[in-house]
């Protein structure tokens, strides 16, 4: 989607290895989010950020960490990947204070942990 890109698009990694997914936006939006999507669970929030160096946990944050050192980048790190973290990961952005705006989603990263 325009204004938000995720990298990589696909990744296969081994159990126990660290993995970092990147979300980059050009919209200067304050709010950024990481979700995971699994069959039967819809989208679940992992971590979110309300600004540079301002991050917080979502409902499924165990095993994940995030960092946001610049407005445009929000990194999601799996410290030691496990098979249960095989999923499709989506980044989303929205404007600050605009509670009546929808989210813009990236195209997703398909992660397979073998």
């Amino acid at each position: 989607d325009a204004g938000i890109t995720q990298s990589p698009r696909h990744k296969v990694t081994e159990t126990g290895t660290p993995v970092t997914l990147r979300c980059h936006q050009t919209e200067n939006h304050r709010y950024m989010y990481w979700y995971r999507q699994d069959p039967g669970h819809g989208l679940r929030l992992i971590h979110y950020s309300y600004g540079v160096k301002d991050t917080d946990k979502g409902e499924v944050s165990d095993g994940y960490s995030v960092s946001r050192s610049k407005t445009e980048d929000f990194l999601l790190t799996l410290e030691s990947a496990t098979s249960s973290q095989t999923s499709v990961y989506f980044c989303a952005i929205t404007e600050w204070g605009a509670l009546n705006y929808g989210y813009t989603f990236g195209s997703g990263t398909r992660l397979t942990v073998v």
């Binding site: 989607d1 709010y31 989010y33 979700y35 039967g40 669970h41 819809g42 989208l43 679940r44 929030l45 979110y48 309300y50 979502g58 989506f90 989303a92 929205t94 509670l99 009546n100 705006y101 929808g102 989210y103 813009t104 989603f105 990236g106 195209s107 997703g108």
Partner: protein, 112 residues
């Protein structure tokens, strides 16, 4: 458990027919949103309805919200094959900041 739960899980209709999807939620909300996801793609925002609104229209889309029943419906009129996708409702409970909670979605198939 999911804050938003869609019903039905799957819906198959013919082109030209109307499609109705329902969403129920459990707690009070600030707004409710509907998203579409085509296979292998990210979610696309369709429409947002605030807690003090009862109905909203956007093109062929009509959304209703009943806060007393904690439910919403999405109506797509005169459906097209291109409407084939998964549709998700998402609720936002916050009055400052924003955190969307998604349901599991309805898979809509529109047959030509």
């Amino acid at each position: 458990s999911q804050q938003g739960e869609e019903d039905p899980q799957a819906l198959s209709i013919q082109e030209g027919e109307n499609a109705t999807m329902n969403c129920s939620y459990k707690t009070s909300i600030n707004n409710l949103q509907w998203y579409r996801q085509n296979s292998g793609r990210g979610l696309v925002h369709l429409i947002l309805i605030r807690s003090n609104e009862r109905e909203k229209h956007s093109g062929r889309l009509r959304v209703t919200l009943d806060t007393s029943k904690k439910s919403s419906s999405l109506l797509i009129t005169a459906s097209r094959a291109a409407d084939t996708a998964s549709y998700f409702c998402a609720t936002d409970r916050r009055t400052s900041g924003s955190r969307l909670t998604f349901g599991e979605g309805t898979q809509l198939t529109v047959n030509p």
